[in-house]
Amino acid sequence: MQGLADGYFVIPYTIGNFLANEIRTSSINTSLPEFEQAENEVRDRINKLLSVKGNQSVESFHRRLGKIMWDYCGMSRNADGLSKARKMIQALREEFYRDVFVPGTDKEYNPEVEKALRVADFIELGELMCVDALTRNESCGGHFREEYQEEGGEAKRDDENYAFVSAWQFNGMDSDPILHKEELIFENVELKTRSYK
């Protein structure tokens, strides 16, 4: 999966250049309203998770989410499965905030708090992946929408309608995210169907 995530390769090159320009920037003051706001938001999130005091471990939610993603949002997926997965993840999220158990406090080294924050993120991201896959009515990249295939079973891309990158804007936990299209414009190459035959 690391190999598929472009950031793994791109970041080492870009971050060095970025930091080189920041080398004379002295440490940034933390008594700024932006810092305070971010700190309060994180503290609220942590307190929210610690105060649930439910009966199920963070790990158990992570595994259940993984199973949903594996079954319905894997390399090969279809609209029925994705819609079902989205509902299942929403139900899982509701259960998570109602019945998760995070031991310990926020005043100590507590890997379970960290894990809970991550799994909370994964639940949101998992749902977004289903939403994103549902809006893309084509088979593109490493992902195969079963409804969109050539006669021989090859992936069927739709460059006319989907030659864009989807950038999703968070719009609150219970609202649909907002789609921003980043058009893919090719100046020197023409789009062709990839064939391994």
Binding site: Y13, G16, N17, L19, A20, S57, E59, S60, F101, P103, G104, E108, Y109, P111, E112
Partner: protein, 251 residues
Amino acid sequence: MKVTLKIWRQSGNDKKGQFVEYKLDNVKKEMSFLEMLDVLNEQLIQKKEQPVAFEHDCREGICGTCNMVINGFPHGPQQGTTTCQLHMRHFKDGDTIWIEPFRAKAFPIIRDLVVDRAAFDRIIQAGGYVSVNTGQAQDANAIPIQKEIVSEAFDAAACIGCGACVAACPNASAMLFVSAKVSHLSMLPQGKVEAKKRAQAMVKQMDEEGFGRCSNVTACEAECPKGISVANIARLNREYLGSVFTSEVNA
């Protein structure tokens, strides 16, 4: 299989620690050692108890975080592997397994099996780098280097900075770690430029962090999950002495 675990529990560096016994009766031999601890932690959480804190990240033997002393051996009794690469099939049904953190003055305990290895980071910051402009990495074949040198430098570069050498050493010396970093860089042309300054700076930082002196016990090499050779320590000594007697300008 069933195992009895005796795990060191300590809530902080200034708190008193103790071994606590746990019994696990649903361990599969296919599990890695860390997966076995995951099972234990899941059970502890079910009982609303505090899980055992241990560090882990890649779980494939390259990140160097899954540090613990198992039955007296850093990373366990198996040679040339990290804890995450140790599997329960190497233990017998009914075994009692003792698990402790890496113990060294320079590695204060954060919690249970987690120690603070920032001392290693500070040693690297003191000199474990080459000064180059940022940008795209140079093409690997642009500077021809003899195969023997490349291989030796690469062997030294295999060090993952886990600290097993410190945990294995009766003096808690960090010489194997520091020597691996100094060797790997000073053998290559890119690292030769700052070699003298580097040897001085890294040794100075190592001493300041409170690591012990090397007395050639070589337990570090025996316990190193990456098989780093103590020949690197000889090279560090030569680099360090050479840097004392000659100046950077004449290099």
